[in-house]
């Protein structure tokens, strides 16, 4: 039991329950691990040692005194992306504008984790307001890829993926607006799920683009992700966009089946050759496991990226209007300012990427261009959804690469916004259509991780888990980055 921090969430839960080790021992190791590696990786931007130890002791007392009352995630150290509200813990969105912001309430997902006795270890780095695909646009500096610290961890949930990959926590919550969970999961070789839109409450998720995003789990294994989904998913009176009526979905493991699988040709062929090779071999693997596989196409994929960024920026420009530093924010005295001047001055503290998206989004929504851009983007979205609906009559799941590129060097794309947008091509499809999508590790190329993306029809998370587990069982290597 020397390296408790390396355990998967399921192993931690089982170990604490079996009294192999205490939650306190485990949390101590996690904190030591953070102490050792976080300086290199920069995944956590707030560490709640005190709160974590208190909760660990509470869990240990329950183990001793009242085992039946132990929650389903008892003792597991979980990190929270810093755009998800945690009561009493600063929630900054990695932005100067929320530098001092302490939410007075927990996000529904966080509250459910706490209720199930998970231990909130700290807050995780991200691109400012989740706008980015590399976690380079953070006021806390970039998160580095644990597998190669010169490379980006992916984004925007870079901290969520890197912290799990570097064993600074056993699992984490991220948010995914256009690939923000799956991209870093792929780059850091962990499992990341974007649930069906309306499956996990967004209450307490600080919005970037409300109609596209979901909170989702990142874990070391598929079963860890399933475990956390069973806690966070389900009906919530605080979110009117929730589309489930039951409380916990109760995903089962494993449920083996012969699946019909479509490999999306244009997305696979368009990727780095090393990556597309891996995806084709994934198809071969599924075929060898009695699945029916063939290549297929999504015609509307060609408009997906434009549609995604149009909608996302439009919503973002409005969502971010409230940060005027009047009701909450950072330390900046209003003395001597007229309101408009104060407001403008305060808002000049947004980072460049956020400013870019606010400006473009404002332009998109202006009455002269609304029809030309926003409405058209919504039409594409509808068409894409319809097309996918038809495809899912034919296939249980669709597979693609998660990312068309391997993790790249920090700074490499930061001056070329369009290039940065382009790498979201594989992931935005699921957000536009509101369908679930998971990224699972699919090997390495030159020591850099590759991810397989699996998509299913809405509310068919179970199919995703079945397919992901099937793949994981055949390909899993117990390997961690050297830090």
């Amino acid at each position: 039991m020397s390296k408790l921090y390396n355990l998967s969430a399921n192993q931690v839960y089982a170990g604490i329950r079996a009294r192999d080790f205490t939650a306190e021992e485990y949390i101590f190791q996690i904190l030591e691990r953070i102490n050792k590696v976080n300086g290199k990786v920069n995944a956590l931007i707030l560490i709640d040692s005190k709160g974590a130890l208190e909760k660990a002791r509470l869990v240990d007392r329950k183990v001793r005194e009242d085992e039946k009352r132990l929650g389903a995630l008892a003792g597991i150290a979980i990190g929270i992306k810093d755009n998800i509200c945690t009561k009493g813990l600063k929630t900054t969105c990695a932005s100067k504008l929320l530098e001092e912001y302490v939410p007075p309430y927990d996000a529904t997902a966080v509250r459910r984790l706490k209720d199930d006795d998970a231990i909130i270890i700290g807050k995780l780095n991200l691109d400012e307001f989740a706008m980015g695909s590399s976690t380079e646009f953070s006021s806390f500096g970039p998160t580095r890829n644990p597998w190669n610290i010169d490379c980006v961890a992916g984004g925007s949930s870079g901290g969520s993926a890197a912290s799990v990959a570097s064993s600074e926590c056993s699992a984490s919550l991220g948010s995914d607006t256009g690939g923000s969970i799956r991209c870093p999961a792929s780059f850091c070789s962990v499992v990341g799920l974007k649930p069906t839109y309306g499956q996990v409450s967004r209450f307490g998720l600080i919005p970037y683009a409300n109609s596209l995003e979901q909170i989702g789990p990142i874990g070391k294994t598929v079963s860890d992700v399933v475990m956390i989904m069973n806690t966070i998913a389900g009906a919530d009176d605080n979110d009117q966009t929730i589309r489930v009526t039951y409380n916990t979905p109760g995903y089962a493991l494993p449920s083996k089946r012969k699946m019909r699988i479509g490999l999306v040709k244009e997305l696979t062929e368009g990727a780095d050759p090393e990556i597309s090779k891996r995806i084709y071999s994934a198809m071969d693997l599924y075929t060898s496991l009695d699945c029916y596989c063939e290549e297929t196409s999504i015609n509307y994929v060609e408009y997906a990226l434009a549609s995604y960024y149009t909608i996302a920026m439009a919503e973002a420009s409005s969502n971010l209007a409230r940060y005027d530093n009047i009701r909450y924010g950072f330390n900046f005295s209003p003395d001597g300012y007229e309101w408009n001047a104060y407001f403008a001055k305060a808002r000049s503290n947004f980072g460049d990427e956020v400013k870019r998206r606010i400006i473009i989004g404002t332009y998109i929504l202006s009455s002269a261009y609304y029809g030309k851009y926003y409405l058209k983007a919504q039409k594409v979205r509808t068409m894409l959804k319809r097309e996918l609906g038809l495809l899912f009559k034919k296939y249980d799941i669709l597979i693609t690469p998660t990312m068309p590129v391997l993790p790249f060097k920090i700074g490499e794309k930061i001056r070329d916004p369009i290039k940065m947008f382009m790498i979201d091509i594989d992931t935005v499809v699921a957000n536009l259509a509101g369908i679930p999508s998971i990224s699972v590790p699919a090997g390495f190329s030159n020591g850099l991780p590759i991810g397989l993306q699996i998509m299913a029809d809405e509310f068919q998370e179970q199919k995703l888990f079945d397919a992901a587990l099937l793949f994981e069982n055949e390909t899993y290597i117990d390997r961690g980055p050297e830090l």
Partner: protein
Amino acid sequence: MAMMGAKDEQDSSTKIGLEIHCQLTSLQSKLFCSCLCNYRDKEPNKNICPICCGLPGTLPLLNKAALELASMVSLALGCRIPQNIMFYRKNYFYPDLPKNFQLTQYNTYGITSIGVNGRLNYGKKSSRIRRIQLEEDPGRLVYESNGINIGSSYTLIDYNRAGISLVEIVTEPDFSDPKDVRIFLNKFTSIIEHLGVCNTKLEGSVRCDANVSIQGGKRVEIKNVGSFKDVEKALNYEIARQKTMSMHDIKIQAETRHWDDTRKVTKQARTKEEEQDYRYFPEPDIPTILLGREHASSVNVKMPELPDERKDRFIINYGLSEHISQVLIDNKELADFFELTVKIYSSPKEIANWIVTELLRFADDDSLIEAKMDSSVSSQTFLFAGLKIGAKHIAELAKLVDSNIINRNAAKMILTQISKTGEMPSQVLARTNVLKTDDKNIISEAVESVFRTEQFALRDAKNNPNVANFLLGKVMKLTKGRADPKITLHLIKTKLDGLS
């Protein structure tokens, strides 16, 4: 150069449209959170929560009851309710707006507001209602002045009001005379009071903006009008201003003007070139609400009696005149008082007369003046607040008159007494002995006395028919109103005839 007289020159080329904001004060909670709707008595910023303060990560939760009340307003104003309802974000920056956008409704990209294409008849005219939308009220800015410095270096914000449900009613520019606007607003007030959706007496619960254009001029919007009563004044001023400009060949530009309540003028606020683009788009956090086909009819069933129906009922069931009914109906409180009184003692005509001609004199001073000047009373203060006269008083008074125990003049005096003490009429009667007298001896004595003292008037009696009435007044005064006027007049006339 005549600013005056504009009122008499209203013509159909003047076009006036209205935007009325009405708080749904009868709701329990705000439009998108569970904070209380009654924010008025609270300490500043004590009626707020993460949702109505727009804290990051919060989501709006639509108050279904607000949707129902807004539907009632829509149906009462003859609007169609679409099957699918949506909310839009109206984006603009202002310190009283916690999210820097307002949740409202918008019809440009499809009809999704709670009401559309309505019509309201008022008097002999009618105005079309373009749309009704449900939206959230912003907070309030409080400008501090400490008495030493004029104005202050800071402004306070109170978010207690932020998120209160409002319905906005937008009319077509169908008015040409500000007087009609007043009548329309009175009718509207009566309707929402009858619906029970809004207590119009609460300060700021109803507000009205207007837009005006005259022949050849651009549309000018008037905002900041404090009460319904001032709308007519603001419009009269604005029309006169525009006509004066037009007379001098000055172009009337599109602009927004604010009503200055102290100086009673409109002042330029911003020109149309500075007009904001609100960048409307559908609120992603509130999915489209599918009301369905049955919605309108299910709301219709719950609709209370509306002023028009009530007026008809007053005319038919109580035999009241059109005019008296209208006066009662225009103020729900008055109509309710009438019906309460009739329940106690069923003499509708007598009671209606008492209420309309006498009781209104005692209503509090402001509304008293209004009531006298304006038959279609609409007062935004509680009409009978602090008044000691209740339905039971009027009922008993009417009964005493009906049964000829006292005459009207005596009854009026009793009413004055009641208004001070709150005693029952019979008590006042017993105390002051103002029983009507038909005792001919007493009356003739009084008549004799008056004939002796008013010699001067008698000289004129032959040529002036008013003398008889003059003498009657004197007799009534002498008998403290007790003399039966019919008998008295008969006696006077006989006596006058005898003189000639």
